[in-house]
């Protein structure tokens, strides 16, 4: 692989060092500058927000940073467990949202009457922000855990549903004409024509939804006391004025969000290979 690359740079273990350097240098400089300015602002007391160095200087935060796997029972757990608890909720609700969203999207995309009946309702509901769902789901479900799951579900389901419906509606006439001439069975039409044709749209919806559901989990957990999860962790740290812990949690949230998006991108590339 390395041999085929027309390269002017130094090669090391098959990696083009010069190119890697060129790719990594600008973001490294930008991030360093950002952290330095932040540190400067908090050192000079312009803001009460602790600087990035507080991740190491603050004892509680240092413990959290270096021991992500500790578990003292209750909700006093390391960052790994907090993140995992949130991720589990996302996984459950997101899976449910994918099933319901794709299923309903296909039903709507193939049934003009259903589409006419439900489109206005869906277009209205999808504009409701995740945080606004929290009191409603708490009132409706009475318990923290199912309420949190519902908030993620209701946030993630719309992009999947709407994109799937569009994907099904947008199946080119060419394909449908062929299906009509060869009088393909309903089952074959579904698996050999409808699903592959709508797949790129479905995946667009799935990718938007994974980011949204990760956003929603924070909103959902923040106001739901007494549950393990990175959202409530942030809220509790803020209540106790452990701001550097909030900063640490943000780093985790950002990393997980990025990884989730990259994972969906990879999955999409795998499934749509050769199309």
């Amino acid at each position: 692989m390395s041999a085929s690359l027309p390269s002017k740079g130094t090669m090391f273990a098959g990696v083009n060092i010069t190119k890697l350097w060129k790719d990594l240098l600008p973001p490294t400089i930008a991030i360093t500058l950002f952290l330095l300015i932040w540190e400067g602002l908090s050192q000079s007391k312009v803001t009460l927000l602790p600087g990035p160095s507080s991740l190491f200087t603050d004892e509680r935060t240092r413990t959290l940073l270096f021991f992500p796997f500790y578990d003292r029972g209750g909700i006093d757990k390391g960052m790994f467990w907090q993140t995992l608890a949130s991720l589990q909720r996302v996984a459950i609700s997101y899976t449910l949202a994918a099933i319901v969203g794709i299923g309903t999207g296909i039903a709507i995309g193939t049934t003009p009457l259903l589409s006419k009946a439900l489109d206005p309702l869906f277009l209205f509901l999808r504009t409701v922000p995740p945080l606004a769902w929290v009191p409603i789901s708490l009132a409706a479900l009475n318990k923290n855990e199912p309420a949190a799951l519902f908030v993620i579900f209701i946030t993630a389901v719309w992009p999947i549903l709407i994109n799937t419906a569009v994907g099904v509606r947008e199946i080119p006439d060419d394909y449908n004409n062929v299906a009509k001439v060869i009088q393909v069975s309903k089952q074959k039409y579904f698996f050999k024509i409808l699903l592959p044709s709508a797949l790129p749209y479905i995946f667009t919806g799935l990718r938007v939804a994974i980011s949204l559901s990760w956003l929603a989990i924070i909103a959902a957990e923040i106001v739901m006391s007494g549950i393990v999860g990175i959202g409530f962790f942030i809220w509790e740290a803020y209540q106790n004025n452990y701001i550097s812990e909030v900063v640490l949690a943000l780093v985790y949230i950002g990393m997980v969000g990025l990884l989730l998006d990259k994972f969906m991108e990879w999955l999409q590339a795998q499934i749509m290979k050769g199309q």
């Binding site: 394909y175 062929v178 060869i182 393909v184 592959p196 199309q275």
Partner: protein, 276 residues
């Protein structure tokens, strides 16, 4: 015979049986805000089994609309189309169509595209039989080596070959070709015309083809149906192409009748126009 011809047609004395396809006084109207748009008006045409009929006319004259009434994609507003005396009500594999845009599923390989059609038309055939038929037809159009490739990996000519293999493997009673070579370059086009001529001869197929290429018609067709300009397009004139089969392109071009027929067709198409 039910259909009454309004125009005197060249007599086809050898064929006295019921025609395979009867287009009987068909009119198709597309409603629009500016009033009804009569695309084709009172078209009558009979196609007999084993015939190769080409339809030619200016773009937008309603050739494809007429084709669609036979394939079943368009329902006539007046008159009807019959196949073996039965009214045509919708699309079906007995009138398999090759579309100009190939219409292959890009996520299925060439083999799978053909197999999907065969499998859904003949679900009871054994898997081995179906496999054999698919391979046979793909090999026939010269794609024996490219069966596993997906349409995006194939050239335009190869894609159209897949579409043709897909159509012929169903042994349709009539094959409908809607400008099948329109998007191909000149050399590929001639190759494809020869391949189609061979397959038609082998399958003893009946073909209805729309094109705007006079030479293509003269090489392939038994009859050349020329349509007047729309709106309200109808059949202007029908030419019999008398060249014996199998045809050799250079041989028929030496035939003095070739240029006579060609000129008549071109005169019909362009002669009546004041402004090009």
């Amino acid at each position: 015979m039910v259909a009454t011809q309004t125009k005197p047609l060249p007599t086809t004395s050898s064929r006295s049986t019921t025609p395979l396809i009867e287009i009987d006084n068909v009119t198709k109207i597309y409603p629009s805000t500016a009033g009804d748009n009569v695309v084709i008006k009172d078209i009558s045409l009979e196609i007999h089994a084993g015939e190769f009929v080409c339809v030619i006319g200016h773009s937008g004259c309603g050739k494809s609309t007429m084709l669609n009434t036979v394939s079943g994609f368009a329902v006539p507003d007046k008159g009807e189309v019959r196949k073996n005396g039965q009214k045509v009500t919708g699309p079906g594999p007995d009138r398999m169509t090759v579309f100009q845009s190939y219409s292959l599923m890009p996520w299925l390989s060439a083999y799978e595209n053909v197999y999907l059609a065969l499998d859904s038309v003949h679900p009871t055939k054994s898997k081995a039989d179906k496999d054999h038929i698919v391979r046979e037809h793909l090999t026939m159009v010269g794609l024996g080596e490219a069966m596993e490739k997906k349409p995006p990996q194939l050239s335009g000519g190869m894609r159209q070959r897949v579409a043709i293999a897909r159509a012929f493997c169903l042994y349709p009673e009539i094959l409908i070709l809607d400008e099948p070579f329109g998007a191909l370059d000149a050399i590929t086009k001639e190759e494809m015309q020869e391949e189609v001529a061979n397959i038609v001869a082998n399958h003893d197929a009946t073909v209805l083809m729309v094109t705007h290429d006079v030479d293509e018609c003269l090489f392939l067709a038994d009859r050349l149906v020329m349509m007047t300009n729309g709106p309200g397009a109808t059949i202007g004139e029908i030419l019999e192409i008398p060249f014996p089969r199998p045809r050799d392109r250079s041989q028929i071009m030496e035939d003095p009748r070739y240029y006579d027929l060609r000129n008549r067709a071109l005169d019909f198409l362009y002669g009546g126009l004041e402004i090009e």
